[in-house]
């Protein structure tokens, strides 16, 4: 019986390192993506100093474009102070591009869109989450990954309608009484954002 135990232990010991090794190789490609020309050039100039890290080596590589259209869209929605949605698989996203609301489905053509203040809605099955976005950029990649970078976003149900009306009235008054171009531009931006907020609350 002890002989069998020894054999079983040996086989488990043999299996564990290979399992661990498989995990190790799975991680390495993510880190190894470094710019070799840069490192070479660096070594010539500063041989004793380690080359600084570059963003490529610090982020996970993106998956390649699949052959057929995937069923779900992967969404990354980031704000300066947090990652609101990270690698979530959803059915559809509607972004407020400068040309109007743009719907993004899996398999959407690769696009770069600048955003204007408006409502971003994320559709997952029957759930719809709406955010009011101040502005930013939306990138849709060919591999059905959508990156949305915004400066500020709030869920629509946290917006106070009374404050929106007041803000709209204030900025419309300022626009009327603005004298310099800078003041006019600032007042116009205020009016745009508040009207969009208004539309978001009603729409």
């Amino acid at each position: 019986m002890l002989r069998h135990a020894a054999r079983r232990l040996a086989s488990r010991a043999a299996a564990a390192p290979t399992a661990r090794r498989a995990l190790a190789t799975a991680e390495v490609p993510a880190e190894a993506a470094e710019d070799s020309t840069f490192v070479e050039a660096w070594k010539k100039v500063a041989p004793n100093l380690e080359a600084p890290k570059t963003p490529i080596s610090l982020m996970q590589p993106r998956p390649p474009t699949p052959a057929s259209i995937p069923t779900k869209l992967t969404v990354n929605f980031v704000l300066p102070y947090k990652s609101e949605i990270a690698n979530k698989e959803v059915d559809m996203v509607i972004v407020p591009a400068t040309t109007g609301q743009m719907g993004v489905l899996p398999g959407h053509v690769a696009t770069i869109a600048e955003l204007k203040p408006g409502v971003l809605s994320v559709h997952e099955g029957n759930d719809v989450t709406k955010y009011f976005v101040s502005s930013g950029f939306a990138f849709v990649h060919a591999n059905s990954i959508a990156d949305i970078v915004a400066v500020e976003a709030v869920p629509v149900d946290q917006i106070d309608p009374a404050l929106v009306q007041k803000g709209l009235a204030d900025f419309t008054a300022k626009l009327g009484s603005a004298s310099t171009d800078l003041e006019k531009a600032e007042a116009q931006i205020g009016v745009d954002v508040h009207s969009a907020l208004n539309a978001a609350l009603t729409g």
Binding site: A46, L49, T54, P55, P80, V109
Partner: protein, 289 residues
């Protein structure tokens, strides 16, 4: 040091030394606690901001070895000292980058954020410094402040490639110098057309009535402000972590010094007691005589 043949060495000197070393130990311990508590707050914000620059790298790729005429090196350093070697590392990396990117028809300028970097770089590269910014951390770093700063920098410098150098915070004891490259819209278009690491910008449709160059311009500015925000936060975290470990080793050193001084103090005290005793005894034995 007391001269040879002195009657009794004063223990006052050693006692004064011990008092000052003990004070230093208290101060450095307090500084370490302050840095630790500040670090906790900034660390959460830094980790939350890490997703901010990833979409840009996913879209545009990264080209650290790009060869352009006008390079601007934006070095993020701290204002306050006593934070270990992180500012020196940043400055060394910036200097090496300067050497790397200067040549017969290319030039390289510095934009320095933070007093410590300015002090070190003004010594030998004063002519290459385009602008300096200090008092970054007077108020907690927020995106609006950084966006205004980025706007300021972009207005005042001409660039083909911006290289932001900062210390990335990996853990409380590990900070790695990191460099992010941001290309100006014209260079980005050229690189993407030439193929190469930038990725295929042409494959992306531009939504909206603006031309591709306008969108790329807005994109470059936005990317710069996002990268600068993340860089400033990471550098602040690294500064606090470095200060924590510097103050920790300093208070430990002070503790060691205090132990050694205590031993010296005891030896001095015992020696003076022994001297007094010997005098008394020899005096008494001389009297008995």
């Amino acid at each position: 040091m007391a001269p040879l043949g002195a009657r009794s060495v004063s223990t006052q000197i050693v006692r004064n030394r011990m008092k000052s070393v003990k004070n230093i130990q208290k101060i450095t311990k307090a500084m370490k606690m302050v840095a630790a508590s500040k670090l906790r707050a900034v660390q959460t914000r830094t980790e939350n901001s890490r997703g901010l620059w990833q979409p840009f790298t996913a879209l545009l790729g990264d080209a650290p070895s790009v060869d352009v005429k006008k390079n601007v090196i934006v070095a993020i350093t701290s204002d306050k000292g006593l934070c270990g070697g992180i500012n020196s590392t940043s400055v060394k990396v910036s200097r090496a980058l300067h050497k790397l990117t200067s040549g017969p028809d290319k030039e390289s300028k510095y934009v320095i954020l933070g007093e410590k970097g300015k002090v070190q770089l003004v010594r030998d590269s004063r002519s290459s410094i385009e602008m300096t910014v200090s008092e970054l951390q007077k108020n907690p770093i927020n995106y609006t402040q950084i966006a205004v700063l980025a706007d300021d920098i972009l207005k005042n410098v001409e660039y083909d490639a911006l290289r932001v150098v900062f210390n990335k915070f990996h853990s409380v004891i590990s900070f790695k110098p990191t460099m992010v490259t941001i290309l100006s819209p014209e260079v980005a278009e050229k690189e993407s057309e030439a193929g190469g690491k930038i990725g295929d910008l042409d494959a992306y449709e531009i939504e909206g009535g603006e031309t591709k160059s306008e969108i790329l311009q807005n994109l470059a500015e936005f990317q710069f402000s996002c990268v600068l925000y993340n860089g400033a936060l990471e550098n602040a975290c690294s500064e606090l972590g470095a200060r924590m470990s510097a103050m920790d080793s300093s208070s430990r050193n002070a503790g060691d010094m205090l132990d050694r001084l205590t031993l010296t103090y005891n030896r001095t005290r015992q020696a003076s007691i022994t001297t007094e005793l010997t005098e008394i005894i020899s005096g008494a034995s001389a009297l008995e005589g």
